[in-house]
Symmetry: C2
Subunit: 225 residues, 2 copies
Amino acid sequence: MKTCESCAIRSKAVESLSKDELEIYQENCSEIQLDTGDIIIKEGLLSTHVAYLKSGLAKIHKKGIKGTEQILKIAKPGSYIGIQTILSQKIHQYSATVIEDSAVCFIDVATFKELILRNAAFGHELIQFLCQEELSNFNRFANMQQKQIDGRLADTILYFANDIKNSIDFTIPLSRNELAAFICSTRESVTRAIKDLSDIGTIHVTGKRFHILNADLLKKISENG
Amino acid sequence: MKTCESCAIRSKAVESLSKDELEIYQENCSEIQLDTGDIIIKEGLLSTHVAYLKSGLAKIHKKGIKGTEQILKIAKPGSYIGIQTILSQKIHQYSATVIEDSAVCFIDVATFKELILRNAAFGHELIQFLCQEELSNFNRFANMQQKQIDGRLADTILYFANDIKNSIDFTIPLSRNELAAFICSTRESVTRAIKDLSDIGTIHVTGKRFHILNADLLKKISENG
DNA sequence: TTAATAATGTGATGCATATCAAGTTTGAAT
DNA sequence: ATTCAAACTTGATATGCATCACATTATTAA
């Protein structure tokens, strides 16, 4: 049986737990394999567990007006999902859906809360995680508002290349519709933006597979908006 | 001499401190009166203190591409400012500027960090604060992307009326340019949006003073985008 | 394989809002 | 009061992108 104790990719927060705290954690935690399309948490439902993304990839999204999906961010391995609603609000304010087969640990809310109140180092790591997330959100917010589509797409391609896939040749596990929901545009405009970036030789794209040909130019487009 | 111990509007986090922890806090904390326009923290500078907004109002902003100011959010009394960079990054990633005369407490970073690691309840309150902030950011993000100007302005007017001023007759302490930076538009478009909402009788505006005449209609506009 | 369905691409058009260019008001300084 | 600069308003024009309509290509099921 797998234990958190022997888990190689447990979070820094879990690292900080004492032996008996880890036991509490472990007893109220279960790891589940999820496939693309599976729902981790769903907006509007009661918040009963915190999810820890061990491996894979998920989209964090939210229903906007008229039901339009808005992708808020991409959750990478090491992310806690659904943590925002465990302390005060009890209803999930956003959904999380797997976009690349994932291993997810679900930790009971009460346990999570107990550990925060019991071990300051555990809380400290969570604070660090939340702070970094907020700064990312700020950056993303400013970028979305001030750049136009080509710049936003360039951002996204560089983000997947540098921060997620660590490669210049990779797949973005999002449909054109989802890409649009992520860069705040429409399916059609995403298609055209991809064509723009391809035409000037910065990328080569086939389906969901992206190959960066000219990173410098792509960066310049990203920076200039 | 004023002490945190006797402070009526200290944060919930400070509430949770023990007597000697409170003393540590107090010794490394100083309250300062700031006027409109004064800078609380500045993007790019070293993060040496956490600011706690006791009273007044501040804008949290960030330089975008080409130097365009982007207002990320409004900080209300009870907000911790500059907390995001104290643990990992050391450089402020955003600025905070007073928009209504404020009382601000500056707490030394080392002290703040020490208290997080020493008192789990203190950290717990901060986590709660950070979680709520992130959810607000998500909502704001989705709204900005999916609503058009009139809806975004309606949002903002209702936000000031309900969440900040608790009145239907109040001043928004932002210039038209700042309002634009807040609702992600331009000075001119803000003017026109104000005119739109005035023309249909939802609000009456003179300068920075806003009077809500038809809250229901305003709400409808906000909801429909 | 073929049929059916979903995802994607493309061209034509319209619209919201940015941008530009004057004017006008406001507020501070003299 | 008068002057000056900053903030604001207003109209005309430009443009980026959404929207619509339809063609094409993948993908799945039969």
